[in-house]
């Protein structure tokens, strides 16, 4: 068995380092290590840091420097493909003023005190860390300058830096950061160090390659599914075959006879009456677990289990979430998609919860010369991360070690502490690179499951979900619908706007988003139907449906009003800017208009040479950033095909442009894929799609030939990028499909209607 270096965090023995940005000096010396070839050193090179722990001088929580001038920057945040392993250290490197090529990047340990929130979600990684990382880099640079000034007996103002070298020009003295690292670390952390001007950035705003690129293309062990540990067993859970069912009894006698099988056991995920935290998911609370030597053996043994399942009874769960305690009703009845759709249609007619009201929408609709009303719907979506859910756990009575893919280790730690009855300091969570996340890995069930199994079998265990387990477990993007209505007066002026949205089991509505603020009479309402199918955050939660519906509706509305769809939106935004209606409008009308203007220009929206395309436009604001897309559809083999996309994005300062473009391109492909093909249906509580043979994912030949991405250039503090480009894709596709087919697309996935149309 090998222990995987990439997943092993370096332990630093140091006393009292519990406050943010506190420095400490570590015992130096002892081991002599040669770092030949450092100039060519890539962050993914093979230098072992295992025995170097005592040589690192920790300058700030994020920065360590050896006396030999090896500079290490820790990435604090979980990496799931958003590239924070590269982009967050770039921010530190910028202020620290070091040669990027010579920096070692390492995943930080889980330590919310030293390294901040450590949460990947809500497109917040960069936004959260922008200031702390700049301050950490700037403070470290200042400490190094002070150390050099003390040594050289010169004024600190006269000590400058250049790419990791401290310089005193007057006396012609210079030295590496490493030479002064130990002295610098002994100094207190300065406060209020001046940060660089955005325009003088050297590293940030210029493209840097993924620091784990070489490991990725050579198949090095980066993922928890690749992790091995001495004496490690493999565990898999036999979940009920449908939502609305639970374990009744099982006979494991045949399974236990299978080669390599160690144990078959059942256990409870959460105890009776457990009060769930916001991300404590439990689709199935009674677990039937098979434990063995290898994954393949456990998979085979599962087939030999004789299990009886029984219907659940209606229950109530108390969730203590971000908005206080709520009671969630879990109905018993197994659900079927056709029945769910009928129920949604029925609920849509009932009175709903009012979320926002401006003016007198009822009166405006009553006197309208014309009303446009359209209903949109979308199915459950499975996240389908390419690396199925898994987690390593080694839990004893004294402590717990957990290694795996998780977006929010700080949220799951208190839960583990309660469930395992261990204080948080006895729980060590190591963050592996995630093979995708998309929101699903912010939830805790599989981490707690792994921990409980390890504790019960008294061995290090890796819990592995098969693809089928992963796809049928729940925590889906909810099923949504929304009816949009617009009232026009006799002169085709927009006088009222109404959105009423609902879903299973939550409504999608963001009541304070555009076009709220741009229409005098506005009403937003929401309703929800309880369900035993579990849901969770999925790339731009709720927005991913709202944008699809609202931006399709605005397109149809513009057409009815005889206006260009971009000009129509710009008119509304002008109104929202100059004379906003109501309060709490979430968006900045100027920035929203900015991406529309940019996409209009860059796509050649009015250029005659683009007439050969069926073009659709959509824009959206969510997660603090703005995105607009123009989708160009052509016919390929008789079917509409998105050949080209032009995108305009405003997310403030772009840290790593080429990687940011990659992320936007990915969001476009993801959006086109889900708009055309995504969807999970149910029959008597069972998912009808269990693997990629039935769950259709976008593939190479369906991806566009070209996606041009343009960023609005500004000096605004950076906001997120993982989610904002995703929601408007659906509507841009629908609007382009309309131009291509002459038919509006209201029901996702569109592939069904495209087929019936051709």
């Amino acid at each position: 068995m090998t222990t995987i270096k990439e997943l092993k965090m370096e332990k630093i023995t140091s006393p009292s380092r519990r406050s943010f940005l506190k420095s400490s000096v570590l015992a130096s010396g002892g081991l002599m290590i040669s770092f030949s070839g450092l100039a060519k050193f890539m962050p993914d090179d093979k230098i072992s840091t295992t025995n170097l722990a005592e040589q690192w001088n920790e300058i700030t929580g994020y920065i360590k420097i050896t006396s030999d001038n090896l500079i290490k920057i820790l990435n604090p945040n979980p990496e799931f493909g958003q590239n924070v392993m590269t982009s967050l250290p770039m921010i530190v490197a910028e202020e620290l003023d070091v040669d990027w090529q010579k920096v070692v990047i390492e995943m930080g340990p889980h330590d919310n005190v030293k390294l901040g929130p450590q949460f990947t979600g809500g497109s917040n990684s960069i936004r959260m860390y922008w200031k702390p990382l700049r301050e950490a880099g700037a403070a470290a640079r200042q400490m190094l300058r002070e150390a050099a000034a003390q040594t050289w007996a010169v004024s600190v103002e006269e000590v400058t830096t250049k790419a990791g070298i401290l310089i005193h020009e007057k006396s012609n003295k210079s030295g590496t950061y490493g030479e002064f690292a130990s002295k610098a670390a002994a100094n207190p952390i300065p406060k209020g160090v001046k940060l660089k001007e955005v325009k003088s950035f050297n590293t940030v705003r210029s493209s840097r390659k993924n620091v784990e690129g070489l490991k990725i293309v050579t198949g090095k062990p980066l993922f928890a599914l690749d992790y091995k540990h001495k004496g490690m067993l493999i565990a898999m859970i036999e979940h009920p075959p449908a939502f609305g069912k639970k374990l009744k009894s099982f006979d494991a006698s045949e399974a236990l006879k299978m080669p390599g099988i160690k144990d078959v056991l059942s256990l409870q995920l959460y105890p009776e009456g457990y009060e769930q935290a916001a991300f404590d998911t439990r689709t199935f609370n009674d677990l039937l677990v098979v434990v063995g030597n290898t994954t393949w053996e456990v998979m085979n043994a599962r087939k030999k289990l004789k299990v009886e399942w029984q219907p659940i009874s209606e229950s109530k769960e108390v969730v203590n979430g971000f908005r206080g305690k709520t009671e969630v009703v879990i109905p018993a009845e197994p659900e079927t998609t056709t029945t769910q759709l009928a129920k949604m249609a029925e609920y849509a007619k009932k009175p709903a919860q009012q979320l926002r009201k401006d003016g007198d929408p009822e009166a405006a609709f009553a006197k309208a010369a014309q009303i446009l009303e359209r209903t949109y719907s979308a199915p459950f979506l499975a996240h389908n991360c390419m690396e199925p859910m898994n987690f390593f756990a080694h839990v004893t009575d004294e402590k717990a070690l957990l290694i795996g893919p998780h977006q929010a280790p700080g949220w799951i730690e208190p839960t583990l502490s309660k469930i395992l009855n261990l204080p948080p300091e006895k729980i060590e969570i190591q963050m592996s690179r995630m093979g995708g996340g998309f929101g699903l890995r912010a939830y805790g069930h599989y981490v707690v499951e792994a921990a409980l199994i390890s504790k019960k079998v008294k061995a290090p265990v890796k819990l592995v979900y098969s693809r089928e387990d992963d796809m049928t477990y729940g925590i889906y993007r909810p099923m949504y619908t929304a009816t949009y209505r617009a009232a026009l007066d006799a002169n085709k002026n927009l006088i009222a706007f109404h959105v009423k949205g609902g879903g299973i089991p939550e409504h999608p509505i963001h009541a304070n988003r555009f076009p709220a603020g741009a229409v005098d009479n506005y009403l937003a309402e929401g309703w929800a139907i309880p369900s035993n199918i579990t849901i969770g955050a999925f790339r731009a939660p709720r927005s991913n449906f709202n944008a699809a519906a609202e931006q399709s509706f605005l397109d149809e509305l513009a057409e009815l009003m005889g206006k260009d769809p971009i000009d129509f939106r710009l008119e509304l935004l002008k109104r929202a800017k100059e004379n906003p209606v109501g309060k709490n409008n979430e968006y900045d009308a100027d920035r929203y208009a900015g991406v529309l203007k940019l996409v209009k220009e860059k796509s050649g929206w009015n250029n005659s040479e683009n007439k050969k395309y069926s073009r659709g436009v959509a824009a959206y604001f969510c997660h603090n950033s703005y995105a607009a897309h123009v989708v160009d559809v052509v016919k390929k083999e008789g079917q509409p095909y998105v050949e080209r996309v032009t995108s305009a994005i405003d997310c403030g300062v772009v840290i790593n442009p080429n990687a940011a473009i990659n992320m936007v391109q990915g969001a476009l492909v993801d959006g086109i894929g889900n708009a055309f093909y995504g969807g999970l249906t149910h029959k008597d509580g069972a998912s009808e799609q269990k693997n990629f043979n039935r769950y259709r994912m976008i593939r190479h030949k369906e991806a566009p030939q070209k996606i041009d991405v343009h960023f609005v250039e500004n000096d605004i503090d950076p906001t997120g990028l993982g989610e904002p480009p995703f929601p408007p894709v659906f509507a841009a596709v629908a609007n382009a499909l309309y131009k291509d087919t002459g038919k509006r697309f209201y029901t996702q996935p569109f592939v069904n209607e495209v087929k019936s149309n051709s």
Binding site: I216, G219, N384, M386, N662
Partner: protein, 152 residues
């Protein structure tokens, strides 16, 4: 259980194993070659792609009994230092996002270029459509394949 002689990345070795065990799990759990990934287990996603006698195959659906004495190449054997033209092109285009599917994508692409050194866009799309990338890096994969083709 039965003994099988395997020829993996030029190294001949014997494993004593259930003949039905898919090559994927032999690689991952018996030979510690973890660069070949588990994605679906039913030959639908391509994460487990390896070369069998030079052709791209899905190792999750290939029993070990079918591959004995045949030449198998995994990502670990594609090049000594990650310097196969396809790997280099992947780095040049900074293709990966989460990175999980990329070894499978690279193995499919390398097999394609071996039989068709200058594939058209349509040929690339056809060859690569068995490999899912959930992050949506398809455009860069295609560009990287073109770059690698030009270097050959």
């Amino acid at each position: 259980m039965a003994a099988f002689n395997l020829d993996i990345n030029g190294k001949k070795q014997t494993v004593d194993i259930d003949p039905k065990t898919p090559l994927l799990w032999v690689l991952r759990e018996h030979l510690n070659l973890i660069g070949t990934k588990y994605g679906c287990g039913v030959a639908q996603c391509g994460a487990c792609t390896v070369h069998l006698e030079g052709s791209a195959v899905r190792s999750c659906s290939l029993p070990v009994s079918a591959v004995a004495n045949k030449k198998i190449t995994t990502i670990e054997g594609l090049s000594a230092n990650g310097d196969h033209p396809v790997q280099k092109a992947w780095l040049e285009h900074d293709v990966a996002q989460c990175g999980y599917c990329q070894t499978g994508q690279i193995m499919t692409a390398a097999a394609l270029l071996k039989t068709n050194p200058n594939p058209s866009d349509a040929q690339i799309e056809a060859a690569m459509s068995g490999n899912i990338c959930r992050c949506g890096t398809y455009l860069r994969i295609k560009e990287a394949i073109k770059t690698a083709a030009n270097q050959k």
